[in-house]
C-alpha cells in the first residue's frame, strides 16, 4: 500500500496548540510480551479491527530470534494521514512482559498511556503517564477453565481492555478474531472471544479513561487488504507462472516459500490429471537451491529461490556462473541483519552492494526494489520477464520489514501482460535458420538467442560453461574471444538500463534538496518530506529507485537539485556507493548520505533530524 494512495486529511488538529484534546486516529500502540505466548494473534486481531474501522494502520513485529521465552514487541500505528512507516514515539503501551516492563515504561514520552499487569505495580515508576492496571491472572481463570491454555488466552484480554479504552468497536474485534482463526478453529475463537469480553467488562467497570487517544471510524481502508510482503511475493511468483521452486529455510524468507507452496497446492494442480504444474524442492543448502534454479532456468523453466543475506553469500559462485553462462534465474533476497546469526529477526538494506556484483570476476546483476505488497506481487512478474529477456539472474531485494510485517494494501491488479519468455529458438526457427551461434549479438542489444535442452532438432545443442567461450559457445582461451564476450555482457547490461522499471519521481519545483531511496525506506522518507516542510519549511523532491541498473531519471534528478540525500538502511552507504559508480564527479559532489542501521525499520523522525542537521537548519 502506498502512502500516496491514502487521501490526506486536513491536518489542522495536528498542528493545533490548543490544550491536549482528544487525539483521534494518530498514535502508536506497543504491546510488549514474551515470545511464544500467543500474543501475535491478539496483536493481529487488534490491528485488523482498527483497519476494519476504516483507519489506515500498520503493524510491526519486533521479535527475537527465539521460539519461546524472549521479549517481543508489536507496534501498531494508526494514522489518519496514511503514514504507515514505523513511528519512533510510543503513545500507548501494553506492558505484559515483566522482564522489560520497567524499561519499556521509562522510555515513554510524558502523556503516554500504559496498560499493565497489576502485580507489576508500574504506576509507581512515573507520575506523568496514564496507568491502567489489569489483573490478567484473575480474569483469565473464569474464561479459560483449562489451565494449560491460559497462557495463550490471557493475551486476548488486553484486546478487550484496549478496545474499551480506545473506543474500538467490539464487534470489529469479534470479526477480526473469527477471521484470524478461520471456520475450522471456531471453538478456539469462541474461547478467545470470552477473554476479549472479560477484558472489556473489567475495563468498563474499573478503569476511568484519562488518556487522549481514540479510534474513530474513517473510510480510508475500504476494499483494501492486509498482507505481508512475503505472501505478496509468493502470489507474484504463482501468477508469473513459476514452475520450479527451490529453497533452504532461512528467516525472514521462509514464509515466502511456505506461502507459495500453500497457494501452488490450491491453484496449480492440473484439474484433469490432478498432477502438479510445479516442482518444489527443499534443498540441502542455498548453494543447491540456486544451482537447481540455474539448472531449471537453463532447461527453460521459470524458477525461483528465496533467501536472505547468508544465503546470498553462499550463492555467489552460481550467481557468477548464471551471469556468464547467461541463464535466467530469479532470486528473492529478504534482507536481514547478518552475517552468521547476526540479528536474524531485524531488518536491514544490507545486501545491496554485494548483490550488485555478486561472485568473482566482472559481474553485474540486475536488482528490483519493491516497497509495497503490490510491488512485491508485480515485481515478481517483472523479475521473471527480465530474467528470461536478458538471460541472467535477477535479484528481488525486499527486507524483513516488508516481508514479514503485515501491511495494508490495495488489492493486486491481475497481470494483463503475457509472459515474455525471451529469445528462445524453436524447432521451426532452427529449421529456417539451419543453426545458430549461442552468444552472438545478432540484434545489437547484447542478447544472444538460446535453445532449450530437448528441442527436437539436430542443430539445437550448444555447450554451456562459464566465461571461457566464444560466440559459438566453444571453449576458448583467446584474448579477443574473452574480451568480446565480456564487452557484449556489459552492452547487455546497458540495454537493461532502458528496460528495468523507472523510478517513481516526485519533483517539487520549489525544492533545492532531493531525497533518493529504495524499498521500505520510502515510508520514512515520504513522511520526512512532510515533517521537513511543516516543521522547517524545507521543500524537497523525492526519487524512489525501483531497479538497478539505474535509469536516466536518476542522473536528471541529481542534476536538477543542489543537494541530494541518499536515504538507506545500512552503515556503509551501499546505495550511495552504487549511485557513485554511475554518476559524474560533479553529480557526486551533490550527494549526501542518510544512514540508519540499528535493526528496526527506518522512521521519519530519524531521517528528518539527520537532514536538518546536515542542512544546518
Amino acid at each position: 500500500m502506498s502512502t500516496l494512495d491514502v487521501p490526506r486529511v486536513a491536518r489542522e488538529d495536528a498542528v493545533s496548540d490548543a490544550p491536549r484534546a482528544t487525539i483521534i486516529n494518530d498514535f502508536s500502540i506497543q504491546v510488549a510480551t514474551v515470545n511464544g505466548s500467543g500474543s501475535q494473534t491478539a496483536n493481529n486481531v487488534l490491528m485488523r479491527a482498527i483497519f476494519q474501522m476504516g483507519v489506515p494502520v500498520s503493524g510491526k513485529n519486533l521479535f527475537p530470534s527465539n521460539i519461546q521465552g524472549l521479549p517481543t514487541w508489536f507496534t501498531i500505528r494508526a494514522s489518519k494521514y496514511g503514514w504507515i512507516g514505523r513511528k519512533k514515539e510510543i503513545d500507548f503501551l501494553v506492558a505484559m512482559n515483566p522482564e522489560t516492563a520497567q524499561e519499556d515504561v521509562m522510555k515513554l514520552d510524558g502523556g503516554s498511556a500504559v496498560i499493565y499487569d497489576e502485580p507489576l505495580k508500574l504506576n509507581q515508576l512515573r507520575s506523568d503517564l496514564h496507568f491502567y492496571p489489569v489483573p490478567f491472572d484473575k480474569l483469565v481463570g473464569p474464561v479459560c477453565p483449562e489451565a494449560k491454555l491460559r497462557k495463550l488466552v490471557r493475551n486476548m484480554i488486553y484486546d478487550g481492555v484496549v478496545a474499551h479504552l480506545l473506543g474500538i468497536d467490539l464487534e470489529e474485534i469479534r470479526k477480526a478474531l473469527f477471521k484470524q482463526f478461520g471456520p475450522r478453529k471456531a471453538k478456539t475463537a469462541e474461547l478467545n472471544w470470552g477473554a476479549v469480553k472479560a477484558g472489556r467488562d473489567y475495563a468498563e467497570q474499573n478503569l476511568a479513561k484519562t488518556d487522549p487517544f481514540r479510534v474513530e471510524r474513517m473510510n480510508e481502508t475500504a476494499g483494501k487488504l492486509i498482507i505481508d510482503g512475503n505472501a505478496a511475493a509468493a502470489l507474484g511468483c504463482m501468477f508469473a507462472g513459476v514452475t520450479v521452486v527451490t529453497w533452504y529455510p532461512i528467516t525472514p524468507s521462509s514464509s515466502l516459500m511456505e506461502t507459495l507452496i500453500g497457494y501452488l497446492k490450491r491453484y496449480r494442480i492440473d484439474p484433469e490429471t490432478k498432477k502438479a504444474t510445479f516442482a518444489v524442492v527443499q534443498a540441502e543448502d542455498e548453494i543447491a537451491a540456486v544451482g537447481m534454479v540455474i539448472g531449471a532456468g537453463w532447461a527453460g523453466a521459470r524458477a525461483v529461490t528465496a533467501t536472505s543475506g547468508p544465503g546470498i553469500s553462499l550463492m555467489s559462485e552460481f550467481a557468477g556462473l548464471g551471469y556468464y553462462a547467461e541463464v535466467p534465474a530469479v532470486i528473492v533476497d529478504v534482507q536481514r541483519v547478518g552475517p552468521s546469526t547476526g540479528l536474524p529477526t531485524r531488518t536491514m538494506q544490507g545486501d545491496l552492494l554485494v548483490t550488485a556484483v555478486l561472485s568473482h570476476g566482472d559481474t553485474r546483476h540486475p536488482m528490483l526494489f519493491p516497497s509495497t505488497p503490490v510491488e512485491c506481487f508485480s515485481m515478481m512478474g517483472s523479475a521473471f520477464d527480465l530474467a528470461e529477456q536478458f538471460q541472467t539472474p535477477v535479484f528481488v531485494m525486499t527486507d524483513l520489514d516488508l516481508g514479514m510485517n503485515n501491511w495494508m494494501s490495495e488489492p493486486f491488479p491481475y497481470p494483463e501482460k503475457p509472459f515474455d519468455r525471451g529469445k528462445v529458438l524453436s524447432k521451426a526457427d532452427l529449421d529456417r535458420l539451419g543453426g545458430f551461434a549461442r552468444y552472438k549479438d545478432v540484434d545489437g542489444d547484447g542478447i544472444g538467442y538460446r535453445t532449450l535442452p530437448g528441442t527436437d532438432h539436430p542443430a539445437a545443442a550448444y555447450f554451456t560453461r562459464g566465461s571461457g567461450h566464444n560466440e559459438k559457445a566453444q571453449y576458448t582461451e583467446r584474448e579477443d574471444d574473452y574480451k568480446n564476450n565480456v564487452d557484449r555482457l556489459a552492452h547487455k547490461f546497458e540495454t537493461m538500463r532502458r528496460r528495468v522499471p523507472s523510478p517513481e519521481v516526485r519533483y517539487n519545483e520549489l525544492a533545492e534538496v532531493g531525497l533518493i531511496y529504495c524499498g521500505t525506506s520510502r515510508y520514512a522518507a515520504e513522511e520526512s518530506q512532510d515533517q521537513l516542510k511543516r516543521e522547517y519549511g524545507l521543500e524537497t523532491s523525492l526519487l524512489r529507485l525501483k531497479a538497478y541498473p539505474f535509469t536516466r531519471e536518476l542522473v536528471d534528478f541529481i542534476n536538477r537539485h543542489q543537494r541530494v540525500y541518499v536515504v538507506e538502511q545500512n552503515r556503509d552507504a551501499q546505495l550511495f556507493s552504487l549511485i557513485k559508480l554511475d554518476t559524474s564527479a560533479e553529480q557526486i559532489a551533490k550527494l549526501r548520505s542518510v544512514r540508519y542501521y540499528s535493526g528496526l525499520p527506518l522512521d521519519a523522525r530519524t531521517v528528518t533530524d539527520e537532514i536538518v542537521d546536515q542542512e544546518g537548519l
Binding site: 476494499g223 487488504l225 498482507i227 502470489l235 504463482m238 501468477f239 508469473a240 507462472g241 513459476v242 514452475t243 527451490t246 497457494y263 491453484y267 496449480r268 490429471t273 498432477k275 502438479a276 504444474t277 510445479f278 516442482a279 518444489v280 524442492v281 540441502e284 543448502d285 548453494i287 543447491a288 544451482g291 537447481m292 534454479v293 540455474i294 539448472g295 531449471a296 532456468g297 537453463w298 532447461a299 527453460g300 523453466a301 524458477a303 559462485e317 552460481f318 556462473l321 553462462a325 488489492p411 493486486f412 491481475y414 509472459f419 535453445t451 532449450l452 535442452p453 530437448g454 527436437d456 532438432h457 539436430p458 539445437a460 545443442a461 550448444y462 555447450f463 554451456t464 560453461r465 571453449y475
Partner: protein, 347 residues
C-alpha cells in the same frame, strides 16, 4: 573389382543415426587417461541403444572428468557447471523437463569432497539421472593431490602415503537411496558397456563409480587406482548381459547360473553367476559384500545394487506429464477469479 564400387553401407542404429552422430570434440586429456575410454563407451552405448542425442542433457562439475562431456554426444546440450555441484544443476534441469535423459559426469573431487552434500541429497531424492564418477583417487587438474576416494595407505607419485580412509561412493549410493549402483573399471570395456546400457534403461538414479586410472599422477606402484592394480584386484560379482527391449533375443541358460532383472522399459539384465552368490537386489547383502571386499583388497565390480520399482523424484513430486519448462501460460497463470478469491480472503 570396379574402381567405382559403392562403399559398404554405414552401420546405423534404430533411429537411423550413425555412430559419428554420437561423437564429440577431440579430447584434451592425457594419452592413456581412463576417462577417454569411458567417453568412448558412452558414445558406443548411446549409439547402440538408439538414444536421440538431442533428448540428452549432459552435465558435469569441474576437473579432468568434467571436461569429458565436450568429448561425447556433440549433438546434446551440455552444461559444465561449478565444482561439485552438477547434481543440483542436473536436478533443476530434470525437473524443468522430465523428458530429458540426463547424464552427469563427475570426478572423485566433485563427488566425494566439494560436492559430497549434494551427492548425498541427490541419492536421497533418487533423481532420474545417469551419474558417472570417473574415479582416479587423485586431483589431476591441480597436479596430483589425494582425493577422498584414495585408499588408506596408497601413495602419491612422490611416495607420500595417504593417512585418511576413503569414502566409498557405492556404499553411500546403496545406503542413501540410489536405485542402481554399479562399479566398473575403465579398462573393462564389455562390463562398462553393459552397465551404461542398464543405466539408460533404468528409471531412477544410477550411480556408476568407474575406476579410471590417471596415467600422469596416479598410475604408479603404491596406487590402488592404477591399471596394474585393477588388473590384479578387479573382482566382477557377475557377468552382465544386457538385452534391450527392442532386441528380444531368447537365450537359454543353465539352471541356477543366471538371474534376470527386468527393467522399467522392458529391457532385461541377465546376470551370470561367477565365483560367488551375489544378489544385487539385496541391499544389506550388497553392503556387506562391499565392506568385506574393502578388507580383502578386492575391488568388486558389476551391478552391485538395483531396485527397479522405487519412484524417482519426478514421480514423487507427481509432476504433470509434459515438461514444466514449456507448459503454456494458461496452465501456469491462475485465473482472474482465482486472484479475486485470494484478495477477498485477505480483506
Amino acid at each position: 573389382m570396379s574402381a567405382t564400387a559403392t562403399p559398404p553401407p554405414k552401420k546405423v542404429n534404430r533411429l537411423g543415426l550413425e555412430v559419428v552422430n554420437y561423437k564429440g570434440g577431440k579430447t584434451t586429456l592425457c594419452a592413456g587417461c581412463g576417462h577417454n575410454a569411458i567417453s568412448e563407451r558412452i558414445v558406443e552405448v548411446f549409439f547402440e541403444m538408439g538414444v536421440q542425442p538431442w533428448q540428452v542433457a549432459k552435465l558435469s562439475g569441474i576437473g579432468c572428468s568434467s571436461k569429458t562431456p565436450a568429448y561425447f554426444l556433440g549433438m546434446s546440450h551440455g552444461f559444465n557447471a561449478v565444482h561439485g555441484r552438477a547434481p543440483v544443476v542436473a536436478t533443476g534441469a530434470m525437473l524443468a523437463n522430465r523428458n530429458l535423459l540426463g547424464i552427469v559426469v563427475t570426478g572423485d573431487g566433485d563427488t566425494a569432497s566439494i560436492g559430497l552434500g549434494h551427492f548425498m541429497h541427490m541419492l536421497r531424492r533418487n533423481i532420474p539421472l545417469i551419474y558417472v564418477i570417473e574415479n582416479n583417487g587423485v586431483y589431476g587438474l591441480t597436479k596430483g593431490q589425494f582425493s577422498a576416494t584414495a585408499d588408506l595407505g596408497s601413495t602419491l607419485k612422490t611416495g607420500t602415503p595417504n593417512d585418511m580412509p576413503p569414502i566409498d561412493c557405492c556404499l553411500a549410493g546403496i545406503e542413501l537411496g540410489a536405485t542402481l549402483v554399479a562399479r566398473s573399471f575403465s579398462g573393462d570395456k564389455r562390463q562398462l558397456q553393459a552397465i551404461l546400457k542398464a543405466a539408460i534403461a533404468h528409471r531412477g538414479l544410477s550411480i556408476i563409480d568407474v575406476i579410471s586410472p590417471c596415467t600422469t599422477f596416479n598410475d604408479h606402484e603404491g596406487s590402488t587406482k592404477s591399471y596394474a592394480y585393477m588388473k590384479d584386484h578387479e573382482e566382477p560379482v557377475h557377468d552382465i548381459d544386457f538385452v534391450p527391449f527392442f532386441d528380444d533375443i531368447a537365450v537359454d541358460y543353465e539352471e541356477g547360473t543366471t538371474s534376470e532383472v527386468r527393467m522399467h522399459d522392458g529391457s532385461r539384465l541377465r546376470l551370470k553367476k561367477l565365483g560367488r552368490d551375489y544378489d544385487p537386489t539385496n541391499r544389506l547383502g550388497a553392503i556387506t559384500a562391499l565392506h568385506e571386499s574393502n578388507g580383502s583388497n578386492e575391488v568388486l565390480t558389476g551391478i552391485l545394487y538395483i531396485e527397479p520399482g522405487r519412484p524417482d523424484f519426478v514421480e514423487t513430486l507427481d509432476l504433470v506429464d509434459e515438461p514444466l519448462a514449456t507448459l503454456p501460460e494458461w496452465k501456469v497463470r491462475p485465473s482472474r477469479e482465482a486472484l479475486e478469491e485470494i484478495m477477498e480472503e485477505l480483506r
